[in-house]
Each structure stands twice: as structure tokens, then as C-alpha cells.
């Protein structure tokens, strides 16, 4: 069939020559945001994230002082006084969870953003310069993609001096390759477009072309990759800290879970100690995944759910208005 799937987000305006690159970029970004805010999934996801960020920021207001201090007898089940109960040591679980959000969200977002930035840099320069550089970068990217993440995380974190910085660095080292690969293939397809060729002919500098011509047209892919990287970082951070490879002295959801296991609360049936942090990780990851889902649906209209269930081999609907 010769149908052209019209993409509402095709970030190129009707006449590419008529508008400058900046216009195009602004147009792309605002249109993406506007469409996102009309999508139910995106709104739900964003709301959850906003709530979590707000709770993290307000943690010192709700629980002033050191959240790790001992406030009651050990391992009390949830009560009016301690809504989520207390840990084996007698710390308030709700307080730990809220305070934990601070470092978990910070590390997750920081590592996710850094991974995406590195991925964009490597993917774009590979795609733009091609040839030897591209081959070399692709090779390195693919090697990093193949090496199993968790064991690599473990040896990296074990040899590096412990601390929040190490956790972020290690997460970026294991996380950038995925985004680099996506960026490269996307940039490759955009590189072939006419307006890039036009910019090249008119003698613009490569960096300028990459930033002004190619990057704005990848807005939605950068967005999904970023969300994916943040989800991955939050999960990997939790795994790392669960093993005791994070900084056990900072509060985070992962270290909360680490202490829950090493204090044996799982075996003792004290579910309130390990449920909140895990649920928080899952909710944030789910919220980000919802946004991702929404961006996918917006950029690829075919993924949108049809109003009525349809079999994909169904014959053309006949809706005759006349006669009878």
C-alpha cells in the first residue's frame, strides 16, 4: 500500500528551508511537550515523579533531624506513631524511605542524564564523521553492551573508593553504551536528510550541524533514551547497594533494603521493613516507563491503541449510510 504514515511529531516543518534550525528545534520541543501533556499515561507518570521529588525535598520538614536515629524499640509493626513501623534497630521506616528518596532519585537521575549525554556525544560523532571513527566507536559500544552489567558493576565498585561519586561513575560506565547505540542509528538516518547535506554544503562547522540540525530532530528518541537510562540507573543502583557495594552510610532505598536483609527482617517476617523502599523504586521506575510509553505512542501513531478491538487481517470496514 502506498500510504504515507503522517507523523504528527515529524519535527521537520512542511518546508524545511523556510524555517531556521532554531525554530525547528523550538517547534519540536514545544510540540512534544504539548502533546505529552495531553496524553493520559504521560500525565500519570509525571505526577508520580513530581510527588516523589516533592516528598524527597520535603523529607527534612516531615522528619527533621537524623532519620537514622533510634526512636523506639526495635521492629515495631506499623502503628499510629510510626506509620510504616520501625526497623530492627528501631528507626522509623517512613523517615528512612523519605530520606532515602533523596539519594536514590539524585543518583538515578544524575547517572541517567550523564549516560545519555555520553551516549549522544558518542553516537552523534560516530554517525556524523563515519569511517574509522565510527567503526572504532561502534566497536567499543558493542563490547560494552555485551559485557554483563552486574558483574562489571561489582568489580568496578569493589575496586573504587566507596562513595556516592563512585556509584554514579560506575553506573555511567555500564550504562552509556545502550544509549550510544540508539543515538547512532537515529543520527545515521537523519544524517542522510537533505537539510543536513544543505548545511554541509553551506560550510557550517560539524559541531554546529550536529547540535543545530541533527540533535533537535532526535528530540523524542533522546527523551525515551533518557527515561530508559534513568530507569536502568535506579535499578542498578538498588542492586549495587543491596549487595553492600554502595556507601552503606548514606540513606537510600537500596541501602534500606541492604540493612533489611542483613538484619534478617525478611526471615523474621517483618514485611514493613523491606516493602516500602522496594515499592518506591518500582513506582518511580513505573512512572518513568509510563512517560516512555507515552512518547513512543506519540512518535509512532501506529502503536496507539485503536478505539475498537481489530484483528490485523480484518477486511475494510463497510459503512454504507445510504439506502435500506
Amino acid at each position: 500500500m502506498s500510504q504515507i504514515t503522517t507523523d504528527p511529531l515529524t519535527l521537520t516543518p512542511e518546508d524545511p528551508a523556510a524555517e531556521s534550525a532554531t525554530d525547528r528545534a523550538r517547534l519540536g520541543a514545544t510540540r512534544l511537550l504539548r502533546t505529552l501533556l495531553r496524553n493520559g499515561k504521560a500525565v500519570a507518570g509525571l505526577s508520580i515523579i513530581v510527588v516523589f521529588i516533592a516528598l524527597a525535598l520535603l523529607a527534612p520538614v516531615f522528619f527533621p533531624g537524623d532519620p537514622a536515629r533510634i526512636t523506639s524499640a526495635g521492629a515495631a509493626a506499623p502503628s499510629l506513631e510510626h506509620w510504616l513501623g520501625t526497623t530492627t534497630k528501631g528507626q522509623d521506616v517512613l523517615g528512612l524511605t523519605l530520606w532515602g528518596a533523596r539519594s536514590s532519585l539524585f543518583v538515578g537521575f544524575a547517572a541517567g542524564i550523564l549516560s545519555t549525554v555520553i551516549g549522544v556525544l558518542i553516537g552523534l560523532s560516530g554517525a556524523y564523521f563515519g569511517r574509522g571513527l565510527d567503526e572504532a566507536l561502534s566497536l567499543v559500544t558493542n563490547v560494552f553492551l555485551l559485557v554483563p552489567g552486574l558483574p562489571l558493576l561489582v568489580i568496578l565498585a569493589a575496586f573504587m573508593p566507596p562513595g556516592l561519586g563512585t556509584v554514579i561513575v560506575v553506573l555511567v560506565i555500564t550504562g552509556w553504551a545502550g544509549s550510544a547505540r540508539v543515538m547512532r542509528s537515529q543520527a545515521m538516518s537523519i544524517r542522510g536528510k537533505d537539510y543536513v547535506a544543505a548545511a554541509q554544503v553551506s560550510g557550517e562547522r560539524p559541531l554546529r550541524i550536529m547540535v543545530r540540525e541533527i540533535l533537535p530532530n532526535m528530540a523524542s528518541v533522546v527523551m525515551t533514551t533518557l527515561l530508559g537510562c534513568i530507569i536502568g540507573s535506579i535499578g542498578a543502583q538498588a542492586g549495587l547497594e543491596f549487595l553492600g557495594l554502595g556507601d552503606v552510610n548514606t540513606l537510600s532505598w537500596g541501602t534500606n533494603l541492604f540493612w533489611a536483609t542483613s538484619d534478617g527482617s525478611l526471615m523474621l517476617g517483618q514485611w514493613w521493613i523491606f516493602v516500602p523502599s522496594g515499592l518506591a523504586i518500582a513506582l518511580v521506575a513505573f512512572a518513568l516507563a509510563l512517560c516512555n510509553y507515552a512518547v513512543d505512542e506519540i512518535t509512532n501513531p501506529r502503536l496507539r491503541r485503536p478505539k475498537h478491538a481489530t484483528k490485523s487481517t480484518a477486511a475494510t470496514t463497510v459503512a454504507r449510510k445510504e439506502e435500506k
Partner: protein, 325 residues
């Protein structure tokens, strides 16, 4: 076959890179890993054992190049040094006794997740807007948002501790003699069930969504339209035309997901005290057992690379376009 040779060369390169990273890491990082390690461990090591560790970690500051080659030689003959947390067992022995369980857990859950996820994806894409297409994706994405190990903790808590229906630890019951008989196999399956289930649950959504999205793209290909015009039966179009083509990207991404699943399996083993490679991980980390961590890293990398090569073999069978150079 040049495709396969290229891939093989690439895997060898990746493995070489992992060994080199392993060699360089203790030498580049500040501090003296051997002293740190020994201060953490309660083991009493003979002086020559300490010396061997120092050489391995490059604490002596010997010449880099010759050390590198002797390191390469040792690794390729399977000599990863002594484990500290299970002193004085050699690392290779520790891993050899545990790797089979990790392989069993990893392969079982991977195969189930791939087959089930792809089937669900095919069906969801086939009936757009139907029950499967509306309910399953958000649900599975939600379940997939939990960390592997947390879902494992939840499963262990509910089925093991609260209900007492699932075994709490190890890969088979204490006192049972391993052997190829029904009793033992059933017992192993019972111990495998929950760990495998958590891994399958967490990874299922990714497979399903991936397959669904490729199927949707494939459904608008011209050969699907032609197949419809030919008057073929819908299930035949779905399987032989649409799914058969949509499977290809899914198989490609399988290679990458293996590493992911292995990571999940290691953490799940920690929770279930399942005696795979990951079981030792917690002890290794707490005891700063560097040789064991490094050996684990290399062994698992090798296993993942081999698995990738197997996936390539399958891919070549499935896609005629890569068969000849």
C-alpha cells in the same frame, strides 16, 4: 559463514577486553587491595600465598608488560587465584561447583520468558485493542519495574515464610543424594520454581512489548498485505509471515538481554540462597574477595559471550539474508 566468523572474532575481542580490564583495574585504582582484603578477612594466609595475591593484583609494581602476558596465560589456563572468602579453595573450583546452578536458573528463566513474552506480544499485536493488548502491557511493565531481588524477597516472604509452601533455600533438599532420578529432579524443580518465576515475571514485559511493537511495524509491510490478498488463513499469515519476520529483531536483542538476565539471576540467587555463582557474591563483597569477584566477572562474561554466539547460530538459521556474506 563470514557473518559467524566476524561475530566470533568480535566475541574474542570482547573477552580480551574484559581480561585486560580485570588486569588493569587493581593496578589503576588507588590503594593496596591486598592489604585491604587481608584486613577484612579472618583467614591466616601463608606468606607465599600473600605474595601470589600481590603479584596477581600488581601491588609489587613489577614491570607491566611481562606481568600482563603472564596474567593472560594464567587466566586462559583457568587459574584465577585463591578465593579468600572460601579459603583456601581456588576460585576456579568455587565457580565450577556453582556455575551449573546459575546456568540452570538463567537458561530456564530466559527460555520461558522469551517464549512466553514473544507469544503474548504476537497475540497482542494481532488483535489490536483487544484484552491482551490493553491489559497485559501496563501490568507487565509495572511488575517489570520492581528490582529482581525485591520481587524475590516478596515471593520468598509470601510463599516461603508466610504460607510455607516453597523451599526457603538451596537448590535441593538437604540429605537428598544428587542423581538422575525422578525424586531428585522434582526436588530440584521445586527449588527452581520461585527463583525462575521472579526472573520471568520481571523480564516478561520487555519481551512482550518489544515483540508487540515489531509485530505492529511488520503488519504494515507489503508482504503481509500481499499474503492477505492471496486469501491465506489469518493464523498462517500471523505465524509464517508476520511473526516469522518480527522474530528477527527479537532474536537480535536476545543477545543483549542475556547479560541482563544473568544480573537478575545473580541477585535472585542471593535472596533465595540458591547455590549458583551469585550465592557467593554477597560473601565475596563483604569479605572483599577480589579474586573471586574477578573470576566471577570473567566466567560470567565468557558464558554470556558463548550464549551470544549460540544466538547468532540461531539467527543465521532464521534469516536467509545473512547466510552468505
Amino acid at each position: 559463514m563470514s557473518f559467524l566468523f566476524r561475530r566470533l572474532g568480535f566475541y574474542l575481542l570482547a573477552f580480551w577486553a574484559s581480561i585486560t580490564l580485570n588486569f588493569l583495574l587493581p593496578r589503576l585504582m588507588p590503594g593496596d587491595p591486598v592489604t585491604r582484603m587481608l584486613s577484612r578477612s579472618q583467614q591466616r594466609l601463608e606468606p607465599q600465598q600473600v605474595d601470589a595475591l600481590r603479584t596477581m593484583m600488581g601491588v609489587d609494581g613489577g614491570p607491566l608488560i611481562p606481568e600482563y602476558f603472564s596474567y593472560l596465560g594464567r587466566i586462559l589456563t583457568g587459574d584465577f587465584g585463591m578465593s579468600i572468602s572460601r579459603f583456601p579453595t581456588p576460585v576456579s573450583e568455587v565457580i565450577a561447583s556453582q556455575l551449573p546452578w546459575t546456568l540452570l536458573l538463567g537458561i530456564t528463566s530466559l527460555v520461558i520468558a522469551v517464549i512466553l513474552g514473544n507469544l503474548l506480544g504476537i497475540l497482542a499485536a494481532w488483535r489490536r485493542g483487544g484484552f491482551l493488548d490493553s491489559v497485559a502491557p501496563p501490568l507487565l511493565v509495572f511488575i517489570g519495574s520492581f528490582p529482581y531481588f525485591w520481587l524475590a524477597m516478596g515471593a520468598l516472604y509470601i510463599f516461603g515464610i508466610n504460607m510455607g509452601v516453597a523451599p526457603m533455600r538451596h537448590a535441593f533438599s538437604v540429605g537428598l543424594v544428587p542423581g538422575f532420578n525422578l525424586e531428585f529432579i522434582l526436588d530440584v524443580a521445586a527449588h527452581l520454581f520461585l527463583p525462575a518465576l521472579t526472573i520471568v515475571l520481571v523480564s516478561l514485559g520487555g519481551w512482550m512489548l518489544g515483540m508487540r511493537n515489531t509485530m505492529i511495524a511488520t503488519n504494515s509491510e507489503d508482504y503481509i498485505l500481499m499474503a492477505e490478498a492471496k486469501g491465506l488463513r489469518p493464523h498462517r499469515i500471523m505465524l509464517n509471515y508476520a511473526a516469522r519476520n518480527a522474530m528477527l529483531p527479537s532474536v537480535t536483542s536476545m543477545g543483549m538481554s542475556i547479560g541482563f538476565i544473568v544480573g537478575g539471576a545473580l541477585l535472585t540467587e542471593v535472596v533465595f540462597a540458591y547455590p549458583g555463582v551469585g550465592y557467593q557474591l554477597l560473601a565475596a563483597v563483604q569479605g572483599l574477595d577480589y579474586p573471586l569477584m574477578q573470576g566471577m566477572f570473567l566466567t560470567i562474561t565468557a558464558a554470556v559471550l558463548i550464549a551470544n554466539f549460540l544466538v547468532d547460530l540461531v539467527y543465521v538459521r532464521l534469516d536467509p539474508r545473512v547466510r552468505k556474506g
